[in-house]
């Protein structure tokens, strides 16, 4: 009797365990079924499943989902699984997926990830190898070579043409009598910003100045060189850096920039309450963010990023908005390439995507959109302005995350008055040199 009961309980436990584990594996099956299911039905007009992942805001999600639906209806053997979300944490998730072998088949890459993922990591397909499946001649060859080709590898297809401009609040301009055709340089920012703040202590010309939007370009304008040269030496000296940090402190002290204690909580300008209330004059941003910003403040216009008359290079950021890359480990390189090509070159797709990735990279699509007024004129204007004086493309090592964080820290220390600009510049260069020794 005892023995029977023992065996019965053992059986129950085993059943429970089996249920538990089958539950686990069916979850994994859901994720893995894409490649394994496809492999089973190998060649021919087989069922293909592609995982396409991206980041963005609501309007981008809606547009891409619509485009995907259209493609799937025209190609019934292809199923595209969409995985999307916000930008925050996307890179962390992507790298973890690559490490674990579960990365999606298609994903856009932010320009500063290209060095790690595409060049050093070699995790994406060289799209030159898929030339038969991609309409390469639809893209501007020079643009491709300059911005999407690294070490002779085409790492991704540009999803748009993006550029950094100064986006200003038209009401703010009117309120403080700033002429709309003001060409900005750093002196003008200081003078006019000072006047604005004196007139209204709650108003600031700028919300904040950070590494990517100010320090790096400011220094590059003075030196004409990369932030970090290709041979891993720093492209500037202590004097230039001290100058930049002194300017930054000056701007804070005179109220041209919102106090750091207020703005530090809002890394994203759209969350900044002062900006929402119309108390901030302008912000440096990419053309692709304009539609999102206009949703909050419709009266926005754009002008050129501040470039001094004696700048050695404009340092205006121009890049292909997020080259769409294909995972090297994808089971369907051909189908993935065909989809990517359709998404970024076909007129129907361009009509759906409009300006969610800034201006489309294919000129005739951009033209068609502008003609039918489907694209926000401000976005087109922004890209035009940026392309008038594009800066040199930023090399991989200048986008290194550790160095960027170090620069942000130093900026904050200067901003909170914890270090003088001169001392801060000294320390920054010292620590940068130390870090550069450890970076491969």
């Amino acid at each position: 009797m005892n023995k029977v009961r023992t065996w019965m309980s053992a059986l129950c436990i085993l059943t429970l365990l089996a249920v538990l584990f089958s539950g686990c594996s069916s979850n994994e099956g859901g994720n893995a079924s894409a490649p394994s299911g496809g492999a089973a039905s190998g060649a021919g007009d087989a069922k293909v499943t592609l995982r396409f992942s991206w980041w963005g805001s609501e309007d981008r999600h809606k547009a891409l989902l619509e485009a995907i639906q259209l493609y799937m209806s025209e190609h019934p053997n292809v199923t595209i699984e969409a995985e999307y979300g916000g930008f925050d944490g996307y890179y962390q998730k992507l790298v973890t997926q690559f490490a674990g072998g579960t990365a999606p088949d298609l994903t856009p890459l932010s320009v500063d990830w290209i060095d790690d993922i595409a060049v050093k990591g070699d995790l994406v397909l060289d799209l030159y190898s898929q030339q038969t499946n991609i309409q390469l001649d639809a893209f501007n060859k020079e643009f491709l070579e300059k911005y999407a080709v690294y070490n002779k590898k085409l790492v991704g297809l540009p999803m748009g043409v993006n550029g950094m401009v100064a986006i200003y609040n038209q009401d703010f301009y009117k309120k403080f009598n700033i002429p709309e055709n003001t060409t900005w340089d750093w002196n003008a920012m200081y003078e006019i910003g000072k006047r604005v703040h004196q007139q209204d202590p709650n108003a600031y010309l700028l919300a904040s100045l950070d590494f990517r939007g100010f320090l790096q370009p400011y220094v590059r304008q003075k030196t004409g060189k990369q932030w970090i040269q290709d041979d891993k030496t720093i492209g500037f000296d202590e004097a230039v850096l001290t100058d930049a940090l002194t300017y930054y402190k000056k701007m804070l002290d005179e109220g041209v920039i919102q106090p750091i204690s207020e703005s530090s909580l809002y890394p994203d300008i759209s969350q900044n309450i002062a900006w929402q209330k119309g108390n901030i004059g302008l912000v440096f941003g990419l053309a692709s963010t304009i539609t999102k910003l206009k949703a909050q403040i419709p009266g926005l216009d754009v002008t050129m990023y501040p470039v001094p008359a004696d700048a050695k290079e404009s340092a205006v950021l121009v890049n292909p908005s997020n080259p769409l890359a294909i995972n090297k480990a994808t089971k369907y390189p051909g189908e993935a390439a065909k989809f990517a090509s359709w998404l970024l070159t076909s007129p129907e797709s361009a009509m759906i995507l409009r300006d969610v990735y800034s201006v489309p990279p294919v000129e005739k699509n951009a033209q068609a959109l502008a003609d039918s007024k489907k694209i926000d004129a401000t976005v087109t204007k922004a890209v035009e302005i940026a392309l008038k004086r594009p800066g040199n493309p930023i090399n991989g090592i200048s986008s290194n995350q550790e160095l960027a964080k170090l620069a942000e820290d130093i900026l904050q220390q200067v901003g909170f008055g914890q270090q003088t600009p001169a001392k801060a510049a000294q320390e920054m260069i010292k620590r940068m040199n130390e870090k550069l020794k450890t970076i491969k």
Binding site: V95, F98, K120, G121, L123, S261, L265, I273, D409, Q418
Partner: protein
Amino acid sequence: MNKLRLTASQPAVLKQRSLLKRSHGLLGLLYISPWLIGFLILTLYPFVSSFIYSFTDYSMIRPPSFVGLQNYVDIFTNDPDFYKSLKVTFYYVLMAVPLKLIFALLVALVLSVQLKGINIFRTVYYLPSILGGSVAVSVLWRFLFMREGLVNKLLSYVSVAPIDWLGSPKLALFTITLLPVWEFGSSMVLFLAGLKQVPKELYEAARVDGSSRARTFFNITLPMLTPVILFNLIMQTIHAFQQFTAAFVITGGGPVKSTYVYGMLLYDNAFHFFKMGYASALSWILFVIIMAFTFLLLKTSNRWTHYEDGEGQL
């Protein structure tokens, strides 16, 4: 089963008994196998892997390469952020743990009275701690304490100028500390249980002797509660050292790294700079620090902890 009589069949009986013991043992293992498998896969394996990774240079994009003790050396000699975050974490622990325990004890005292419906209050006060390391609560905290937030709004009604709760390097850490202190529920429940265990005769005796409320508290209640205090102290200290969510969501480690707790340093190195080996080394250093603190607390507890049954002395 005759244990006393040695017969020819004794070895067979012994064998049967040991077989039974073994099958009981196996059955026991089977019962706990779900937990055991989970422990092996999700706790022990990552534990050991992270120890191994701490001796490598591993960026997740390329396979790990062995570097020996270099990570540990770099942490101690080449990383000013390490010392900064240790300092911030220690301040945080020194603020959060005592505050939390004091609040928990005070509220438990108030709620230990036998009133009708007192259980509702106990539940309500316990609720925040269920929200745990929740991101939603951290976002709520940010909303409350930012410059244009609710707290400043309320203060403005009593003519207090807006305070930079989260933007000032001097205040930010304190504001972050308030969040876990608010979640004192679990400690409170333990104190409630502890209070219930204090023998009523002691209170009666004290009343008879004419002891004041305060003296009763300090001379009877508190000493009887010391085991619970010790437990809460250790658990909360361990927890506080591992703080991450509040700092990450509310201030991102800023301003000027004034809320850059150790958890943030670890996160940045692991998921921002993708230095997995370095981050693993950092986590093992934290483990040693927490162990040292726990050991210290336990060792010194002999002097001040009173166990009713005289056991539990180290």
